[in-house]
């Protein structure tokens, strides 16, 4: 929200504070100043290396060069029809100034003006915005000849002075503007652009910000200065009928509409507002319309109470001979209203309407209706100020996509007390700017008064929660500055919530609300820095988290890069893997109800697909070896337990999906990093993946590990001959292999095979690691190689386990070092060569080793028909 400093000064004395001082105090107190926009006031000049504090924009007006001046005559330009020459007096001397301003063009050639026109005059060398350039571009006024006439100075528009972005003629100042006075002194301003937090609706107004500044500086808030004018200067005309004889109000639901106030002003003149008012509205980001509409907007910006002006005669016409009756009620489903933006809106029973007996007039608290709006012909204005239920307004504004100044405030909660103040203020400004006479009295229906809780706060509370020592007197002082009504009873401060804020609750919550106000007033920066005195709770660690971190470390040590991907995907994206899953299941997904894009419409069920997509994106890299550890999401109709999280007995947990943790690995491309002398590296294949998995499992200290060809049904996405399952303690914990060529085709990968693996981490984590290590033997080992010829169909693992079984106790290592196929050893045969290590507690002889070797060979002959290769 944009707040001009000059406006704040109506309510609080800001002498001695720079604009930055104000911005800093507000920012630290929770009213964050996003930007300071200078429109005339002196800007801070930062030297090189000096600290900036705020984002700033705009310009300062040079006091020597930009002054108030008066135009005395508008003359024709000798060579240009659209330009005029102004005879102007700048307080020191007469000047001739060239201008093309349309808003004084009609005075051309009318001779000496009866009443001089006061304008903003910029002399040679002034820095201004270029009025004719796109956007905001600074320029310096230079002497130039335009169509034969010398020009060295100018009469300024709002754009040139940085007040508004439009460029439509020169500024015409009030008649009282003192000629020769520096313009910066006369109307120089700066605007604070402040973010209003959801709990600070009370500060979405000039007076709200002024109150905060007054409290933060300990100065007086002069909030009654304006209100006094309502009763004195524009005393209500007793001769007019009081409003309550003309209008009555019926509120059908006080919860939705706690208060409704109307006042009436007669015989207004719809005309432009005074320039100073227009300028403030523009600086505050509002477009001036006319004296009546501006008065409602100005009063709203000043007080924070949105007002709505009806054309009284339209309502009177609609009421016929009867008294006008205003009814507030919930809309009927399907009821229609044309709002003043011209669009016809279909309403629901959630919306609240302001109606008369003929039907809806406006969408309460959000936007007026077009029929009864104020027009150029309006003579009499009925002004509404009301209080609405903030949740209802928020929902309505969202439903109809109508964010407005009114709904912004009402949807955050406006205190009903402001309804009356707002109507009075609005009527007063109309009387001042549009003429007219205020009819006596108001009609004020106020069925639901807010509680304005009284909160008791003690120095003990302050110490217990804020950690500072404040006396009851100091507490009372800080709260009183924010208009709490405080009484002190011994060490208890009873503080009554002021009737402009809705954010203070009752009881223990109210205490927290008030403590926050005390902390803000005291200043967060003044609160000391201490160490927790509360004892450190028992430290228990998080085994699941720690185990996963260990797993990540192991994977990285194996040369795998970690990736983290989006949880949201689409069935089509995962469909590229042929619906394959570690745990096969039907095609049901956890679906996002409001996805931002169709390709992110469900939660992933296949972590592997996510990693494959990333691998595909990186396919131009010479090699890819990556993994992800994370959750997948499985719909869970009514099961309340989840595998990854301790169950909670809360009501409503039903239906939450399971979030099992998985590991997925993808490897493809070159096995070795290329270098100038390393060329044509072999590509990663099945056994590169398997080797890493072996190392991973041994890193997890698991020993009872076996591998078997995977069943095709469980891994349709894998090459049927290159797919395996990993079992630990006989339980399948993961699957791996090379992608099926038909699946690989669906991705944009290079030539080389794509090896993948998937693990169920919730299973893997629960397996018990081996206890103890093997001692390092002290006796010398005997090494021996044997090669056997077997049928091609015999699995290497079978041969190895036979060797291990037969040699149990002495054969301590079995390493396959060669697999060989050749016609010489027979068609359909293969040779497997093993390197054996014999070792026992005593030093073994060659003869003892040979005896065991013979046993092994015999066993292999019997079991798998092996023949020793000589």
């Amino acid at each position: 929200m944009k707040i001009p400093i000059s406006w704040l000064k109506d309510f609080v004395d800001l002498d001695g504070l720079s604009v930055e001082d104000m911005a800093r105090k507000l920012t630290l107190a929770g009213l964050e100043v996003d930007e300071i926009l200078y429109a005339g006031l002196e800007m801070p000049v930062y030297k090189e290396g000096e600290k900036h504090e705020f984002k700033t924009s705009g310009i300062a007006w040079d006091k020597e060069k930009i002054v108030v001046a008066e135009i005395r005559e508008v003359k024709a330009h000798p060579n240009a029809d659209k330009l005029t020459l102004l005879d102007l007096f700048d307080g020191q001397q007469e000047q001739v100034v060239l201008t093309g301003a349309p808003n004084i063009f009609h005075l051309k050639g009318t001779g000496m003006l009866e009443k001089p026109i006061k304008v903003a005059y910029a002399k040679e060398g002034s820095t201004l915005y270029d009025g004719h350039a796109e956007g905001l571009q600074l320029m310096t006024l230079k002497r130039a000849k335009i169509r034969g006439v010398e020009s060295y100075s100018m009469v300024c528009s709002e754009k040139e002075l940085g007040i508004a972005e439009e460029h439509d003629g020169i500024i015409i100042l009030e008649d009282e503007a003192p000629v020769g006075r520096p313009l910066a002194d006369y109307m120089g301003d700066a605007v604070l652009n402040i973010s209003i937090l959801p709990n600070m609706a009370r500060n979405a107004s000039v007076i709200g910000i002024a109150r905060e500044l007054a409290a933060l500086t300990g100065r007086e808030l002069r909030k009654h200065a304006q209100a006094d004018r309502y009763t004195s200067k524009h005393a209500q005309a007793d001769t007019l009928k009081p409003v309550n004889e003309l209008v009555e109000i019926e509120i059908t639901d006080p919860e939705l509409n706690p208060r409704f106030v109307v006042g009436l002003i007669r015989d207004v003149e719809i005309k432009p507002s005074p320039y100073a008012i227009q300028r403030r509205l523009k600086l505050a980001g509002q477009r001036p319309i006319n004296s009546v509409v501006d008065a409602t907007n100005y009063a709203m910006l000043e007080l924070g109470e949105p007002l709505h002006a009806f054309d009284y005669d339209v309502l009177k016409e609609r009421a016929g001979k009867k008294k006008i009756k205003i009814i507030t009620r919930a809309a009927k489903d399907g009821e229609k209203l044309t709002t003043l933006d011209g669009s016809q809106r279909t309403l629901t029973s959630m919306n609240v309407l302001v109606c008369d007996e003929k039907g809806p007039l406006s969408l309460a608290g959000v936007m007026g209706g077009s029929e009864s709006e104020v027009t150029d012909k309006t003579k009499n204005v009925l002004l509404e100020g009301a209080a609405w239920n903030f949740i209802n307004i928020r929902r309505t504004a969202k439903q109809h996509n109508l964010p407005s100044e009114a709904s912004f405030r009402f949807s955050r909660g406006v205190h009903p007390a402001l309804a009356e103040q707002g109507v009075k203020r609005g009527l007063q400004y109309m009387a001042e700017w549009a003429g007219g006479t205020i009819a006596p009295g108001l009609v004020d229906e106020y069925p639901l008064k807010p509680k304005d809780p009284t909160i008791t706060v003690t120095p003990h509370d302050v110490k217990r929660l804020l950690g500072i020592d404040l006396t009851a007197k100091k507490i009372s002082e800080l709260l009183t500055r924010l208009e709490f009504k405080c009484t002190i009873d011994k060490d208890k401060v009873k503080s009554k919530t002021p009737p402009h804020r809705m954010d203070i609750a009752k009881g223990v919550v109210g205490l927290a609300d008030v403590l926050e106000e005390i902390a803000r007033g005291y200043g967060y920066d003044n609160i000391p820095v201490t160490t927790m005195a509360d004892a450190l709770p028992p430290q228990v660690g998080n085994p699941v988290h720690e185990w996963e971190e260990h797993l990540r470390d192991l994977l990285v040590a194996l040369g795998l890069q970690e990736v983290v991907t989006h949880r949201m995907t689409s069935p089509e994206r995962e469909g590229r893997l042929l619906g394959s899953r570690l745990r096969p299941e039907p095609n049901n997904y956890v679906r996002i109800a409001n996805p931002t894009a169709p390709e992110r419409s469900v939660l992933r069920k296949s972590l592997l697909t996510s990693v494959l997509e990333i691998a595909e994106k990186n396919a131009r890299a010479e090699s890819i070896a990556m993994f992800e550890v994370g959750p997948i999401f499985e719909p869970n109709g009514n099961d309340t337990s989840t595998s990854s999280h301790r169950p909670d007995v809360l009501l409503g947990e039903r239906g939450l999906p399971n979030e099992p943790r998985e590991l997925a690995i993808v490897m493809t491309g070159a096995r070795l990093a290329s270098a100038w002398d390393v060329k044509d590296s072999p590509a990663f294949d099945f056994f590169d993946m398997k080797g890493r998995l072996e190392l991973l499992l041994s890193g997890l200290r698991l020993t009872d590990i076996s591998y078997a060809a995977a069943r095709e049904a469980s891994t349709p996405y894998l090459h049927p001959g290159k797919a395996a399952e990993v079992k630990v303690n006989g339980q399948v914990v993961g699957l791996f292999g090379e992608l099926h060529p038909l699946v690989k085709e669906k991705f944009e990968f290079g030539e080389s095979a794509v090896s993948v693996a998937e693990f169920d981490l919730d299973l893997l984590r629960r397996l018990n690691p081996t206890y103890g290590i093997k001692s390092v033997p002290e006796t010398p080992p005997i090494y021996e190689d044997i090669a056997v010829i077997v049928d091609d169909s015999v699995e290497a693992s079978a041969v190895e386990s036979l060797i291990r079984q037969t040699g149990a106790g002495t054969v301590t290592a079995v390493r396959l070092f060669d697999v060989y196929k050749d016609e010489k050893i027979g068609v359909g045969k293969k040779s497997l060569a093993y390197s054996l290590t014999y070792q026992s507690d005593k030093t073994m002889t060659d003869a003892e080793a040979a005896a065991i070797r013979n046993k092994i060979v015999k066993r292999l002959e019997h079991a798998v028909g092996a023949k020793l290769r000589s």
């Binding site: 967060y524 160490t531 005195a533 509360d534 709770p537 970690e562 990736v563 409503g652 979030e659």
Partner: protein, 354 residues
């Protein structure tokens, strides 16, 4: 004989001096000190000498033999040094050729940053507590003092999950890790032997959160968060300041200045934003800090009484504080990353820089 010996010595040494390789030296040894060398011939003719001559010629012959052998040894060393020098010169590398690398893996930058944060918090006594990513409205909002339709919900645009008939308690993607606060407090208060006297809590809550956003350089639909929560007796706002001052010193360096700015979160009160002096420009003002000299790095506050109550802790007796931060934002500030999409884009050319 003696003259002959002198001649032999002279001729041998002369021929040795011109030798420049090992083969020639070997031949020289055979020719001059070998079995059939002239010198050895002298020894074999020893018997023919008179008694008087024998010792004279004998010692002279031995001296010549020793001289030749030592000359040979010297020559051999000389040759070795020359050969080595030659091969060293031949083996000279172009040391500017690139090295041969190995393929290594790394942790994702966000994992690295999460670890940095969690390690510091662990040392300060905050233990990791993880909880689910798909949540109920009740846990994500209502328990945390965001009533249905409350304006504060505008601060957290939400992804909802399709589910039937759940009324005001839809299923959603958690928008922050704060539902874990409720879960942790309930775990502790329900397990307490004396329900009026639940234990103190000090936990760190890391995890992925989700906001309904369009994905752009500046906004993502998912992001990591780490929250800290301390609940106990007599925990104050001053303690919050002290704890975060410690954390910021560890995270951003000893000289890091910080300031507390009043703010609003429904689940804390009083609430604050913590700004750390911009480490890019040193507080002078730059694009990164939007000319303010400060970087917003943490949100925090005293745990709201409603939240304590919902967790099973009596707000009249217990108090606590919570704080939250974004590891991705920290990484972006620290590493001048100007596109948040890099994180889940996982381009290896991005990842390998960490």
């Amino acid at each position: 004989m003696l003259d002959k010996l002198n001649e032999i010595e002279k001729a041998a040494l002369e021929s040795l001096s011109s030798i420049s390789d090992q083969a020639a030296l070997d031949a020289w040894r055979v020719a001059n000190v070998g079995r059939s060398s002239p010198l050895m011939g002298i020894f074999s003719e020893f018997g023919k000498l008179s008694k008087e001559q024998k010792p004279v010629v004998g010692s002279a012959a031995n001296r010549v033999k020793a001289a030749l052998e030592s000359a040979e040894e010297g020559k051999s060393k000389e040759l070795k040094i020359a050969t080595l020098a030659k091969s060293l010169a031949e083996e000279k590398l172009d040391v500017t050729l690139p090295g041969r690398t190995v393929k290594v893996g790394k942790l994702h930058p966000t994992t690295q940053q999460l670890r940095r944060v969690l390690d510091i918090l662990a040392e300060m006594g905050f233990q990791v507590y993880t909880s689910r990513e798909v949540e109920t409205d009740e846990m994500n909002f209502q328990m945390l003092n965001f009533p249905p339709h409350h304006p504060a919900r505008d601060m957290q645009d939400t992804f909802f999950v399709e589910a039937d008939n759940r009324g005001d308690n839809p299923i959603l993607m958690r928008t922050h890790t704060s539902p874990g606060q409720i879960r942790a407090m309930r775990d502790a208060s329900r397990a307490a032997t004396d329900p009026l006297n639940p234990p103190s809590i000090r936990i760190a809550l890391p995890g992925m959160c989700f906001r309904y956003e369009q994905i752009t350089a500046r906004s993502e639909i998912q992001f990591n968060q780490v929250e800290g929560l301390a609940v106990g007796r007599n925990i104050t706002f001053a303690d919050l300041k002290g704890t975060l001052a410690d954390f910021v010193r560890r995270m951003f360096g000893e000289g890091a200045r910080l300031r507390f700015r009043a703010s609003y979160f429904p689940f804390t009160e009083p609430s604050a934003e913590v700004d750390v002096e911009c480490f890019v420009c040193g507080g002078v003002g730059c694009q990164v800090c939007k000319n303010s000299g400060w970087l917003e790095i943490l949100g925090c506050g005293m745990v709201h009484p409603v939240v304590l109550q919902n967790g099973g802790y009596d707000p009249k007796v217990y108090s606590g504080f919570a704080f939250g931060m974004g590891p991705e934002r920290q990484l972006m500030l620290r590493n001048k990353i100007n596109d948040i999409r890099y994180f889940w884009g996982n381009d290896v050319r991005f990842l390998e820089q960490f």
